[in-house]
């Protein structure tokens, strides 16, 4: 019987194992230990949601608390990466990426290209994304699409404890800058995770549920809501194939195309807002490369084009749920390109 741990523990274990294996791996960020310079307990927090707890006692000054100045410490992680380190920098909530955007998209992402190949920037930026914690507009976004847009960056969005560990170890060993998005609603999710170290390659989506009628492409927490919807639809005889993208850059185009070629129907589910996001990206991909296979228009299930609201009822409406996903899948199943003429009955 394999061991079961939480998503949060899986991330912690990946960091621990990589720090133990490679002395150039550093962890830095706001309160990643906590208690620095106080009279009280050191390692008081282990990160705002406790993900890095226990690393400071074990690795000492390789786990570095920072001032709340994201441009400086994210930039420092990037600079240290170009100078031979493998920093893993925690940027608390992905909403704060705006504060240090320049260091990520103008500096880290472009060094290798601008400098004629001479630079290597093996930095990982871990950050919390996602709505559902009543954290409102500036602590709840899902911003991976913005970074997926930038050449030179890789973006990882794990959905299970197993993937969280394997993809984080892969990200740390990767020689390009990686933004690693941790959905806050998944931290307590439990799953089977091997104790030994392992990696999951970038750019390999996973078919998490097989089915021949509708392809559902999704990522992050929405993977679980999509599976829930698929289970409901199965009771009515509709079999959905659910694809977890796992990384948005690089993107596993082949798995998406192959599945749509088999089912002929596509629903894309993304918690993020609808414009210029993963849902539109995947829809465009399929329209370009699998148009002939489509039996119905593509459906997109996303948040509305609004900030994330605070009130619980509104936030629940904001996030796609299994009912909306199921409705979208039913609608692509029921679509008829040549509807009978209304006078024919």
């Amino acid at each position: 019987m394999a061991r079961t741990i939480t998503f949060k523990q899986a991330i912690n274990e990946a960091l621990d194992q990589e720090m133990g294996r490679d002395p150039t791996v550093l962890v830095m960020g706001e309160d990643v230990a906590g208690g620095q310079g106080t009279q009280g307990e050191m390692d008081a927090w282990g990160g705002v949601l406790g993900v890095t707890k226990g690393l400071h006692p074990k690795y000492g000054d390789r786990v570095m608390d920072t001032p709340i100045s994201e441009s400086a410490f994210v930039g420092a992680a990037i600079g240290a990466a170009t100078a031979g380190m493998r920093p893993v920098v925690e940027l608390m909530f992905n909403d704060f990426l705006g504060v240090c955007f320049d260091q990520i998209y103008n500096q880290a992402a472009k060094f290798k290209y601008m400098f004629g190949g001479k630079a290597q920037t093996p930095v990982v930026i871990r950050t919390i994304c996602g709505a559902g914690m009543r954290a409102a507009a500036q602590h709840s976004q899902s911003l991976y699409a913005i970074f997926t847009h930038i050449p030179g960056l890789k973006c990882v969005v794990p959905s299970t404890p197993y993937d969280a560990k394997g993809l984080l170890i892969e990200s740390i060993r990767d020689n390009d800058p990686v933004i690693y998005f941790e959905h806050k609603q998944l931290y307590q999710m439990e799953g089977e995770v091997p104790e030994e170290s392992y990696t999951i390659p970038m750019g390999e989506a996973q078919i998490v549920r097989e089915g021949g009628d509708v392809t559902i492409v999704t990522l992050g927490e929405m993977v679980h809501r999509s599976i829930q919807a698929a289970d409901e639809l199965a009771k009515t005889g509709v079999e959905c194939e659910v694809i977890d993208l796992r990384t948005t850059s690089p993107l596993d185009e082949d798995s998406v195309i192959e599945s749509v070629e088999s089912t002929g129907r596509l629903v894309v589910v993304d918690e993020a807002t609808p414009r210029c996001g993963m849902a539109t990206d995947i829809s465009a991909l399929v329209a370009q490369k699998a148009f002939g296979s489509l039996k119905s228009p593509i459906e997109m299930v996303t948040a509305p084009h609004t900030p994330v609201p605070f009130a619980d009822n509104l936030e629940d409406l904001y996030k796609p749920d299994a009912n909306r996903i199921a409705a979208a899948a039913r609608s692509v199943m029921e679509y008829q390109a040549w509807a009978p003429a209304s006078s024919s009955s």
Binding site: A72, G75, A83, P87, M114, F115, G116, G117, K154
Partner: protein
Amino acid sequence: MQTETQSPSTTTSLDKQDLLEAYRQMKTIREFEERIHVEFAKGDIPGFVHLYAGEEACAVGVCTHLNRGDYIASTHRGHGHCIAKGVDVHGMMAEIYGKATGVCRGKGGSMHIADLDLGMMGANGIVGGGPPLVCGAALALKQAGGEGVAIAFVGDGGSNQGTTFESMNLAKVWNLPAIIVVEDNGYAEATSSNYTVASGSNADRARGFGLPAVRVDGHDFFAVHEAAGEAISRARTGGGPSLIECKVNRYYGHFEGDAQTYRGPDEVKKLRETRDCISNFARQTIDSGQIEPSELEAIDRGVMQLIESSVAAARQAAKPEAAELLTDVYVSY
């Protein structure tokens, strides 16, 4: 106020070879920039170019203290820092012409000219982009346990960016071997630093963060060299970060093509006649009997040949292959 080095001085730690080398580097930067000014006007050089002529004593005064393993990050006005850190002049000229033989294979250009192999982390198209990166390089050097240092050059424009303030704070909090060199050349683009730098003193600002800081005459190689030597040896021995503010002037516009109507009549002419760092250096070292005029003339000839051959080679070099468009985005993808 702490030390305000203003009067020209000579530094005894420099022997004759050091002096000749410093002169050669300053002269190389000057002639490199003067030539680019001419070639740009002909239309042969693409894009945005920002020239460092007039500020040579800052780059060379600082970088003379550095080893290959030390790091620098530069500004958009980066040619001088590159040359002072030892980047190949032929490779630089070819880069600025956008050629495959360029130090960045023609994919960076003037604003991103860099050579990581030499610890030159790049000119930077983003004002204030460098200081956080330098904190990181300094952290890596500190973790490695050696005596390496990392230097961020910023202009008076960059000195007003939050990244510079944040980096001073972080460098102090982490006691990093990082040094910020503010080159206040009087103008952030077309606006005076008298107007944009509140308090008028970056040295004062740095002291607010607990950094030792000095303001020096950036036209005076010896003043810069002495201040940098002190800051760098402090950093190498675990004494943490410092700031050096160099008051200096640039001879050309913000970018090539800038009509500079914001500058006073004859301002640059007067500066060239009275404040020129290279003329002053030559006069001081000759007057003190350390160097013969003929030795400087020999260097001048060598520099002119180097610049001439670098332009000729850059003109003839091939542009990057079309396939280069898609390479070096990632290590693996």
